[in-house]
């Protein structure tokens, strides 16, 4: 790791530690009741006493997120190819995708759960719906960003559409696709949680709902700390993958999207 990265990491860890210590001190000093804010020590105690429970539910949410995300990637890239290569498909598919994006998933989640069921699949579907749009848009943009001179070169050399795609358009679009993937993975986590908030018996979102109903704040904090860690790790994996697959075009640090 370079010296700069190391310094960034150390600063981040130091900041987190200071914040945690301050939080603990404030809660104890002002005797803040646990139903308002739990102390970090209480959160740790809650987590440590039921590690297996949290591990199981984290795995469920992770599974829903990954399933939804992978479907979003496959379907998203296919949709983008369709949009870029066919004017007709573009005018048909693009409005539908836009409408899907604008409808708030929080509103249709209850209906989806009734149609699809209350298990893992419906949560993966919501994750898919939420992660789909960024993948499509970034892939389509990337494919259109190919250098027009190189595209002309392919025509001059009598290359086929397939060769044009594989050799020019797709490699050019990879940096864009990855920026879309970074957005999509974080949205997929949010989508899975929305589904769990609305119904079902498993997952970190379910734990948060139960904890809120019983005023068990340490439990809900443990759950969303785990959720954040999960999101960060997944995001980090995409960054690593990008470095491996697109060594020539690593983009600057992206902002983490927060809206659904």
């Amino acid at each position: 790791m370079s010296a700069i990265r190391l310094r960034e990491v150390v600063t981040a860890i130091a900041t987190l530690t200071v914040v945690t210590v301050l939080w603990e001190v404030v809660v104890r000093l002002f005797q803040i009741p646990s139903f308002l804010i739990p102390a970090p020590s209480a959160i740790w105690q809650e987590f440590a006493s039921r590690v297996e429970l949290y591990a199981n539910h984290t795995w469920i949410t992770l599974y829903e997120t990954l399933l939804g995300f992978l479907l979003a990637v496959v379907l998203g890239i296919l949709a983008a190819i369709a949009i870029v290569y066919s004017r007709v498909l573009q005018s048909v598919v693009y409005p539908v995708i836009l409408i899907l994006q604008i409808v708030p998933k929080v509103a249709i989640a209850p209906l989806l759960l009734i149609w699809v069921g209350y298990g893992l699949q419906s949560k993966a579907v919501i994750a898919l719906l939420v992660a789909f749009f960024p993948v499509v848009v970034s892939t389509a943009t990337g494919m259109r960003a190919a250098d027009p001179e190189l595209l002309d070169l392919v025509k001059v050399l009598k290359g086929s559409r397939w060769q044009e795609f594989v050799k020019i358009r797709f490699p050019y679009s990879l940096p864009f696709i990855f920026s879309g993937l970074k957005v999509a993975i974080t949205l997929a986590v949010i989508g899975a949680i929305i589904g769990e908030f609305v119904g079902g018996n498993e997952g970190l979102g379910y734990l948060i709902v139960i904890a809120n109903a019983e005023l068990k704040t340490a439990m809900s904090f443990s759950s969303f700390i785990l959720l954040s860690v999960m999101g960060l790790v997944l995001f980090g994996l995409i960054v690593v993958l990008e470095r491996l697959m697109v060594p020539w075009g690593v983009t600057e640090e992206e902002e983490i999207p927060t809206a659904v």
């Binding site: 009741p33 139903f35 019983e214």
Partner: protein
């Protein structure tokens, strides 16, 4: 002699805005400010709060005390008993300007009262006990849901007619639902195995659709939701049936008025006066349910008049029990409270055992306000 190549400095150039750049910047800022101003001016008028403000009937010279009253859930028919005092004048005559807000269930209400975000709240006694165990210093001061409203609604075709029929069925519920938490106690009293009952956790509005769509056989609900179920069943040509815990041996206190300890200590007379006014308003509403229902609809025009009236009737039926006819609205009996306390201790995973005396009191409720019905 060839020109030496220009040396480009690697230090950052000091930025001096050119006039063109400055004008562009000023344009952008001006446009932004103008848009923000336009947006603010066109903002839609804030929608009226679900409760709305009371119209004080008292003479202008009396100083009114502002009160926030937190309903347990989004308003519906049963809340006529609480709205009545605002429009019929009991609150105003006692010097109170009551503003209504909605909580998201008893768990949310006890948290808000515990955090002093509202003065009075309507919440389940079990939620009060759980909240005290978690450090919220609140008390149940006035009872309104005397007879236990916990029930299981289901489609008649699934044959849930007695408690034992619950075994092997899937019942829809919200997280932490009181009826669900009390299921083991209900099972013990009625000799069936509660572990053989599956649950489907979902949000409140989805319970009825989940049952109608066949995802669950039934749903845990308060009996005040029965009128909505009956009508929904009629629309779908499905017969619906209800099984009330109270009819099968589990009768405990449900919702009442919750207040923070500090308010009880600092303004005991204000609390007593408010609860007195509330009891009078409730008595009037029980004697004049149609008029009371009209008040609810005034604050919540989207409700269906007939359904709301039926829901109000359910609340009235669960309020007018023997002890109310004897002692008046609001007072709680020690026997029943002990039973309630005991069941909560047994069935909830409390952080600490809450003492019997610490979560409720009759001290602030009025005496002898009995509706003449």
């Amino acid at each position: 002699m060839a020109d030496a190549p220009e040396r480009h400095s690697t230090a950052p150039e000091t930025q001096r805005l050119s006039r063109r750049e400055f004008l562009h910047l000023a344009q952008g800022v001006g446009l932004g400010v103008a848009s923000a101003g336009l947006l603010a001016a066109c903002a839609p008028a804030a929608a009226p709060a679900p409760g709305g403000q009371a119209q004080p009937a008292a003479p202008a010279q009396r100083r009114m005390r502002d009160i926030t009253f937190l309903l347990d859930v989004t308003p519906y028919g049963k809340h006529a008993l609480y709205y009545a005092g605002a429009d019929h004048g009991e609150f105003a005559r006692a010097g109170f300007n009551v503003k209504f807000a909605s909580g998201q269930g008893s768990g949310d209400v006890v948290r808000k009262i515990g955090a002093k975000a509202a003065d009075f709240g309507l919440a389940d006694t079990s939620a009060v006990i759980v909240a005290r165990a978690e450090g919220a210093m609140i008390k149940q001061t006035f009872m309104t849901h005397y007879k236990n409203l916990m029930s299981v609604f289901s489609l008649k075709k699934h044959g849930i007619n007695q408690p034992k029929d619950l075994e092997g069925k899937t019942i829809a519920t919200t997280a932490g639902d009181a009826s669900l938490v009390m299921l083991p106690a209900f099972a013990r009293i009625n000799n069936f195995d509660h572990t053989k009952v599956s649950t489907l956790v979902t949000d409140f509005p989805s319970k009825l659709p989940a049952v109608l769509a066949g995802r669950a056989h039934g749903s845990f609900d308060f009996y005040t939701s029965w009128p909505t179920w009956v009508r929904a069943g009629q629309r779908q040509n499905e017969e619906v049936s209800a099984m009330r815990y109270a009819d099968w041996g589990l009768d405990i206190y449900n919702n009442g008025i919750v207040v923070h300890d500090d308010l009880l200590r600092s303004e005991p007379n204000m609390v007593k006066e408010f609860l007195h006014a509330l009891a009078e308003a409730i008595a009037w509403a029980v004697e004049n349910p149609d008029a009371a229902n009209a008040i609810t609809l005034k604050y919540n025009p989207a409700l269906d008049r007939d359904t709301a009236r039926d829901e109000l009737q359910v609340h009235i039926d669960h309020l007018m029990v023997d002890e109310v006819r004897r002692n008046g609205i609001g007072l709680m009996s020690e026997d029943k409270m002990r039973r309630t306390h005991q069941l909560v201790l047994e069935n909830y995973d409390l952080k600490r055992p809450v003492e019997f005396e610490e979560f409720w009191t009759n001290e602030f409720a009025p005496r002898g306000i009995i509706p003449k019905v």
